[in-house]
Symmetry: C2
Subunit: 140 residues, 2 copies
DNA sequence: AATATAAATCGAAACCATTTCGATTTAGGA
DNA sequence: TCCTAAATCGAAATGGTTTCGATTTATATT
Protein backbone atom coordinates (compact mmCIF):
# COMPACT_ATOMS: atom_id res chain seq x y z
CA UNK A 1 0.00 0.00 0.00
CA UNK A 2 3.01 2.27 -0.22
CA UNK A 3 3.18 4.73 -3.06
CA UNK A 4 6.95 4.43 -3.39
CA UNK A 5 6.68 2.13 -6.37
CA UNK A 6 4.69 4.81 -8.20
CA UNK A 7 7.14 7.57 -7.26
CA UNK A 8 9.98 5.41 -8.52
CA UNK A 9 8.12 4.89 -11.79
CA UNK A 10 7.61 8.63 -12.09
CA UNK A 11 11.30 9.32 -11.60
CA UNK A 12 12.32 6.60 -14.03
CA UNK A 13 10.24 8.32 -16.68
CA UNK A 14 12.10 11.60 -16.10
CA UNK A 15 9.46 13.40 -14.09
CA UNK A 16 10.25 15.42 -10.99
CA UNK A 17 8.67 14.42 -7.70
CA UNK A 18 6.64 17.50 -6.91
CA UNK A 19 4.31 17.94 -3.94
CA UNK A 20 1.28 18.06 -6.24
CA UNK A 21 2.20 14.91 -8.13
CA UNK A 22 2.86 13.10 -4.89
CA UNK A 23 -0.41 14.28 -3.37
CA UNK A 24 -2.27 13.17 -6.47
CA UNK A 25 -0.89 9.65 -6.22
CA UNK A 26 -1.63 9.58 -2.49
CA UNK A 27 -5.18 10.67 -3.17
CA UNK A 28 -5.76 7.86 -5.62
CA UNK A 29 -4.04 5.29 -3.41
CA UNK A 30 -6.66 5.95 -0.74
CA UNK A 31 -9.51 5.61 -3.24
CA UNK A 32 -10.71 2.28 -4.60
CA UNK A 33 -12.72 4.00 -7.30
CA UNK A 34 -12.17 6.41 -10.13
CA UNK A 35 -12.13 10.19 -9.85
CA UNK A 36 -13.00 12.96 -12.28
CA UNK A 37 -10.58 15.84 -12.86
CA UNK A 38 -13.03 18.07 -10.99
CA UNK A 39 -12.99 15.77 -7.99
CA UNK A 40 -9.20 15.69 -8.02
CA UNK A 41 -9.10 19.46 -8.28
CA UNK A 42 -11.42 19.75 -5.30
CA UNK A 43 -9.47 17.28 -3.14
CA UNK A 44 -6.08 18.74 -4.00
CA UNK A 45 -7.50 22.19 -3.35
CA UNK A 46 -7.66 21.31 0.34
CA UNK A 47 -3.89 21.02 0.50
CA UNK A 48 -3.04 23.48 -2.27
CA UNK A 49 -5.53 26.36 -2.26
CA UNK A 50 -5.81 27.94 -5.68
CA UNK A 51 -4.26 25.08 -7.58
CA UNK A 52 -4.85 25.54 -11.27
CA UNK A 53 -7.17 23.19 -13.10
CA UNK A 54 -4.70 23.08 -15.96
CA UNK A 55 -2.17 21.64 -13.53
CA UNK A 56 -4.61 18.91 -12.51
CA UNK A 57 -5.38 17.99 -16.10
CA UNK A 58 -1.68 17.90 -16.94
CA UNK A 59 -0.72 15.79 -13.94
CA UNK A 60 -3.50 13.30 -14.58
CA UNK A 61 -2.42 12.91 -18.19
CA UNK A 62 1.24 12.48 -17.21
CA UNK A 63 0.39 9.84 -14.65
CA UNK A 64 -1.63 7.95 -17.19
CA UNK A 65 1.17 8.18 -19.75
CA UNK A 66 3.46 6.65 -17.16
CA UNK A 67 0.99 3.82 -16.54
CA UNK A 68 0.32 4.88 -12.95
CA UNK A 69 -3.24 5.87 -13.68
CA UNK A 70 -5.77 4.33 -16.04
CA UNK A 71 -8.03 6.65 -17.96
CA UNK A 72 -11.58 5.73 -18.84
CA UNK A 73 -14.39 7.58 -20.45
CA UNK A 74 -17.92 7.19 -19.21
CA UNK A 75 -21.25 7.61 -20.89
CA UNK A 76 -21.38 11.17 -19.65
CA UNK A 77 -18.46 11.77 -22.02
CA UNK A 78 -16.13 12.91 -19.25
CA UNK A 79 -12.77 11.55 -18.28
CA UNK A 80 -12.12 9.52 -15.16
CA UNK A 81 -8.91 8.18 -13.71
CA UNK A 82 -8.00 5.46 -11.26
CA UNK A 83 -4.84 3.97 -9.85
CA UNK A 84 -3.53 0.92 -11.64
CA UNK A 85 -2.48 -1.78 -9.17
CA UNK A 86 -0.81 -3.98 -11.75
CA UNK A 87 0.83 -1.56 -14.17
CA UNK A 88 3.21 -4.02 -15.75
CA UNK A 89 0.73 -6.73 -16.63
CA UNK A 90 -1.98 -7.06 -19.24
CA UNK A 91 -5.31 -7.14 -17.48
CA UNK A 92 -8.90 -5.98 -17.60
CA UNK A 93 -11.26 -4.00 -15.41
CA UNK A 94 -14.50 -4.56 -13.63
CA UNK A 95 -16.35 -1.38 -12.68
CA UNK A 96 -19.12 -1.33 -10.08
CA UNK A 97 -21.98 0.74 -11.42
CA UNK A 98 -23.07 1.70 -7.92
CA UNK A 99 -19.95 2.62 -5.92
CA UNK A 100 -17.59 2.99 -8.90
CA UNK A 101 -15.09 0.62 -7.31
CA UNK A 102 -12.55 -0.81 -9.72
CA UNK A 103 -11.45 -4.44 -9.66
CA UNK A 104 -8.49 -5.44 -11.73
CA UNK A 105 -8.69 -8.86 -13.33
CA UNK A 106 -5.56 -10.53 -14.59
CA UNK A 107 -7.35 -13.43 -16.23
CA UNK A 108 -7.57 -12.98 -20.00
CA UNK A 109 -9.01 -15.66 -22.22
CA UNK A 110 -9.48 -13.83 -25.46
CA UNK A 111 -7.08 -15.99 -27.41
CA UNK A 112 -9.97 -17.99 -28.83
CA UNK A 113 -11.79 -14.84 -29.87
CA UNK A 114 -8.66 -13.50 -31.54
CA UNK A 115 -8.08 -16.80 -33.31
CA UNK A 116 -11.66 -16.75 -34.57
CA UNK A 117 -11.21 -13.27 -35.98
CA UNK A 118 -7.86 -14.05 -37.55
CA UNK A 119 -9.24 -17.14 -39.22
CA UNK A 120 -12.77 -16.17 -40.23
CA UNK A 121 -12.26 -12.49 -40.99
CA UNK A 122 -8.60 -12.63 -41.97
CA UNK A 123 -7.82 -9.71 -39.66
CA UNK A 124 -4.76 -9.06 -37.54
CA UNK A 125 -5.75 -8.33 -33.97
CA UNK A 126 -3.22 -6.01 -32.35
CA UNK A 127 -4.89 -5.20 -29.07
CA UNK A 128 -8.11 -5.59 -27.20
CA UNK A 129 -9.79 -4.29 -24.10
CA UNK A 130 -12.60 -5.76 -22.08
CA UNK A 131 -14.82 -3.66 -19.92
CA UNK A 132 -17.02 -5.41 -17.42
CA UNK A 133 -19.71 -3.69 -15.40
CA UNK A 134 -21.99 -4.75 -12.61
CA UNK A 135 -22.12 -4.77 -8.83
CA UNK A 136 -19.11 -5.35 -6.62
CA UNK A 137 -19.11 -7.53 -3.52
CA UNK A 138 -19.99 -4.55 -1.33
CA UNK A 139 -22.94 -3.39 -3.42
CA UNK A 140 -24.67 -6.47 -4.71
CA UNK B 1 -28.26 -4.88 -48.29
CA UNK B 2 -31.67 -3.21 -48.24
CA UNK B 3 -32.34 -0.61 -45.60
CA UNK B 4 -35.98 -1.60 -45.20
CA UNK B 5 -35.30 -3.54 -42.03
CA UNK B 6 -33.89 -0.36 -40.47
CA UNK B 7 -36.81 1.76 -41.61
CA UNK B 8 -39.17 -0.80 -40.14
CA UNK B 9 -37.29 -0.65 -36.86
CA UNK B 10 -37.53 3.13 -36.89
CA UNK B 11 -41.29 3.03 -37.40
CA UNK B 12 -41.75 0.38 -34.73
CA UNK B 13 -40.08 2.70 -32.25
CA UNK B 14 -42.53 5.47 -33.10
CA UNK B 15 -40.30 7.57 -35.31
CA UNK B 16 -41.44 9.12 -38.55
CA UNK B 17 -39.67 8.16 -41.76
CA UNK B 18 -38.25 11.51 -42.83
CA UNK B 19 -36.02 12.15 -45.84
CA UNK B 20 -33.10 13.06 -43.58
CA UNK B 21 -33.39 9.97 -41.43
CA UNK B 22 -33.66 7.80 -44.51
CA UNK B 23 -30.68 9.48 -46.13
CA UNK B 24 -28.66 9.01 -42.95
CA UNK B 25 -29.33 5.28 -42.89
CA UNK B 26 -28.55 5.03 -46.61
CA UNK B 27 -25.28 6.86 -46.06
CA UNK B 28 -24.19 4.44 -43.38
CA UNK B 29 -25.35 1.40 -45.34
CA UNK B 30 -22.88 2.34 -48.07
CA UNK B 31 -20.03 2.78 -45.59
CA UNK B 32 -18.17 -0.10 -43.98
CA UNK B 33 -16.58 2.20 -41.45
CA UNK B 34 -17.64 4.67 -38.83
CA UNK B 35 -18.44 8.33 -39.43
CA UNK B 36 -18.15 11.41 -37.24
CA UNK B 37 -21.10 13.78 -36.89
CA UNK B 38 -19.12 16.29 -38.95
CA UNK B 39 -18.68 13.79 -41.75
CA UNK B 40 -22.37 12.96 -41.69
CA UNK B 41 -23.20 16.66 -41.73
CA UNK B 42 -20.97 17.13 -44.75
CA UNK B 43 -22.38 14.17 -46.68
CA UNK B 44 -26.00 15.00 -45.92
CA UNK B 45 -25.26 18.59 -46.87
CA UNK B 46 -24.90 17.44 -50.48
CA UNK B 47 -28.54 16.40 -50.59
CA UNK B 48 -29.88 18.87 -48.04
CA UNK B 49 -28.02 22.16 -48.32
CA UNK B 50 -28.08 24.06 -45.05
CA UNK B 51 -29.05 21.12 -42.89
CA UNK B 52 -28.60 22.00 -39.25
CA UNK B 53 -25.88 20.31 -37.24
CA UNK B 54 -28.30 19.95 -34.36
CA UNK B 55 -30.48 17.84 -36.66
CA UNK B 56 -27.55 15.59 -37.45
CA UNK B 57 -26.64 15.13 -33.80
CA UNK B 58 -30.25 14.38 -32.93
CA UNK B 59 -30.75 11.88 -35.73
CA UNK B 60 -27.54 10.05 -34.90
CA UNK B 61 -28.55 9.76 -31.26
CA UNK B 62 -32.04 8.55 -32.15
CA UNK B 63 -30.68 5.93 -34.49
CA UNK B 64 -28.33 4.69 -31.82
CA UNK B 65 -31.14 4.59 -29.26
CA UNK B 66 -33.07 2.42 -31.68
CA UNK B 67 -30.11 0.09 -32.12
CA UNK B 68 -29.62 0.96 -35.78
CA UNK B 69 -26.32 2.70 -35.17
CA UNK B 70 -23.55 1.87 -32.72
CA UNK B 71 -21.81 4.75 -31.00
CA UNK B 72 -18.16 4.60 -30.10
CA UNK B 73 -15.77 7.10 -28.66
CA UNK B 74 -12.24 7.27 -29.95
CA UNK B 75 -9.07 8.45 -28.33
CA UNK B 76 -9.61 11.88 -29.84
CA UNK B 77 -12.61 12.08 -27.48
CA UNK B 78 -15.08 12.51 -30.30
CA UNK B 79 -18.11 10.46 -31.13
CA UNK B 80 -18.34 8.12 -34.08
CA UNK B 81 -21.21 6.05 -35.39
CA UNK B 82 -21.54 3.01 -37.59
CA UNK B 83 -24.35 0.83 -38.85
CA UNK B 84 -25.04 -2.27 -36.81
CA UNK B 85 -25.54 -5.30 -39.04
CA UNK B 86 -26.76 -7.57 -36.28
CA UNK B 87 -28.86 -5.31 -34.06
CA UNK B 88 -30.73 -8.06 -32.26
CA UNK B 89 -27.78 -10.15 -31.19
CA UNK B 90 -25.08 -9.73 -28.58
CA UNK B 91 -21.76 -9.29 -30.36
CA UNK B 92 -18.47 -7.45 -30.37
CA UNK B 93 -16.52 -5.24 -32.73
CA UNK B 94 -13.22 -5.31 -34.49
CA UNK B 95 -12.00 -1.92 -35.71
CA UNK B 96 -9.28 -1.54 -38.31
CA UNK B 97 -6.88 1.15 -37.17
CA UNK B 98 -5.97 2.02 -40.76
CA UNK B 99 -9.18 2.14 -42.80
CA UNK B 100 -11.59 2.27 -39.83
CA UNK B 101 -13.58 -0.65 -41.21
CA UNK B 102 -15.81 -2.36 -38.67
CA UNK B 103 -16.20 -6.11 -38.42
CA UNK B 104 -18.93 -7.50 -36.25
CA UNK B 105 -18.07 -10.67 -34.39
CA UNK B 106 -20.82 -12.80 -32.95
CA UNK B 107 -18.51 -15.16 -31.11
CA UNK B 108 -18.41 -14.37 -27.41
CA UNK B 109 -16.49 -16.52 -24.96
CA UNK B 110 -16.43 -14.37 -21.88
CA UNK B 111 -18.37 -16.78 -19.73
CA UNK B 112 -15.13 -18.05 -18.18
CA UNK B 113 -13.99 -14.52 -17.43
CA UNK B 114 -17.34 -13.68 -15.85
CA UNK B 115 -17.26 -16.86 -13.80
CA UNK B 116 -13.77 -16.00 -12.59
CA UNK B 117 -14.90 -12.58 -11.46
CA UNK B 118 -18.05 -13.86 -9.80
CA UNK B 119 -16.10 -16.48 -7.91
CA UNK B 120 -12.85 -14.75 -7.00
CA UNK B 121 -14.06 -11.19 -6.54
CA UNK B 122 -17.63 -11.98 -5.52
CA UNK B 123 -18.97 -9.48 -8.04
CA UNK B 124 -22.09 -9.63 -10.17
CA UNK B 125 -21.23 -9.00 -13.81
CA UNK B 126 -24.15 -7.38 -15.58
CA UNK B 127 -22.65 -6.53 -18.94
CA UNK B 128 -19.40 -6.42 -20.81
CA UNK B 129 -17.98 -5.07 -24.01
CA UNK B 130 -14.94 -6.13 -25.94
CA UNK B 131 -13.13 -3.85 -28.28
CA UNK B 132 -10.61 -5.33 -30.65
CA UNK B 133 -8.30 -3.29 -32.82
CA UNK B 134 -5.81 -4.12 -35.52
CA UNK B 135 -5.65 -4.43 -39.28
CA UNK B 136 -8.45 -5.76 -41.43
CA UNK B 137 -8.00 -8.16 -44.35
CA UNK B 138 -7.68 -5.25 -46.78
CA UNK B 139 -5.04 -3.39 -44.82
CA UNK B 140 -2.76 -5.96 -43.29
C1' DA C 1 -57.91 16.65 -50.99
C1' DA C 2 -57.96 19.36 -47.05
C1' DT C 3 -57.14 19.56 -42.08
C1' DA C 4 -55.07 18.87 -37.70
C1' DT C 5 -51.26 18.15 -34.78
C1' DA C 6 -47.54 16.05 -32.82
C1' DA C 7 -43.07 15.35 -34.41
C1' DA C 8 -39.11 17.05 -36.83
C1' DT C 9 -36.07 20.62 -38.18
C1' DC C 10 -33.98 25.07 -37.98
C1' DG C 11 -30.65 28.38 -36.27
C1' DA C 12 -28.28 30.78 -33.27
C1' DA C 13 -26.67 30.95 -28.86
C1' DA C 14 -25.08 28.67 -24.75
C1' DC C 15 -22.54 25.20 -22.59
C1' DC C 16 -18.54 23.47 -20.35
C1' DA C 17 -14.92 20.14 -20.06
C1' DT C 18 -10.62 20.51 -21.83
C1' DT C 19 -6.63 22.84 -23.99
C1' DT C 20 -3.46 26.50 -24.89
C1' DC C 21 0.24 29.63 -23.93
C1' DG C 22 3.11 33.22 -22.10
C1' DA C 23 4.58 34.58 -17.48
C1' DT C 24 6.21 33.02 -13.05
C1' DT C 25 7.83 29.70 -9.75
C1' DT C 26 10.21 25.57 -8.27
C1' DA C 27 12.75 20.93 -7.88
C1' DG C 28 16.88 18.97 -7.91
C1' DG C 29 21.45 18.45 -9.92
C1' DA C 30 26.01 20.81 -10.22
C1' DT D 1 24.04 28.31 -3.20
C1' DC D 2 23.14 28.70 -8.23
C1' DC D 3 21.36 27.37 -12.40
C1' DT D 4 18.03 25.84 -15.53
C1' DA D 5 14.80 22.95 -17.40
C1' DA D 6 10.61 21.52 -15.72
C1' DA D 7 6.44 22.60 -13.37
C1' DT D 8 2.74 25.61 -12.26
C1' DC D 9 -0.17 29.50 -12.82
C1' DG D 10 -4.07 31.93 -14.71
C1' DA D 11 -6.86 33.63 -17.86
C1' DA D 12 -8.55 33.11 -22.26
C1' DA D 13 -9.66 30.29 -26.18
C1' DT D 14 -11.35 26.12 -28.11
C1' DG D 15 -14.77 23.35 -30.26
C1' DG D 16 -17.67 19.47 -30.10
C1' DT D 17 -22.08 19.08 -28.31
C1' DT D 18 -26.48 20.64 -26.36
C1' DT D 19 -30.34 23.67 -25.76
C1' DC D 20 -34.61 25.92 -26.92
C1' DG D 21 -38.11 28.77 -29.01
C1' DA D 22 -39.73 29.43 -33.74
C1' DT D 23 -40.95 27.25 -38.00
C1' DT D 24 -41.83 23.42 -41.03
C1' DT D 25 -43.31 18.76 -42.13
C1' DA D 26 -45.05 13.78 -42.00
C1' DT D 27 -48.91 11.34 -41.59
C1' DA D 28 -53.26 9.99 -39.59
C1' DT D 29 -57.98 11.50 -39.91
C1' DT D 30 -61.92 13.55 -42.01
MN1 LIG E 1 -7.11 -9.44 -22.44
MN1 LIG F 1 -19.65 -10.82 -25.33
ZN1 LIG G 1 -19.77 -1.34 -5.56
ZN1 LIG H 1 -8.57 -1.80 -42.82
Amino acid sequence: MTIDVYLKKLKEDGFKITPKRKATIELFSKKKSYLSPQEVLEKLGNHFPGISSSTVYRILEELQDTGILIKIEHEDRQLYYFLCRMPDQHHHHFICRKCRRIEEVELCNLKELERFISKNLNCKVENHSVRLEGLCSHCK
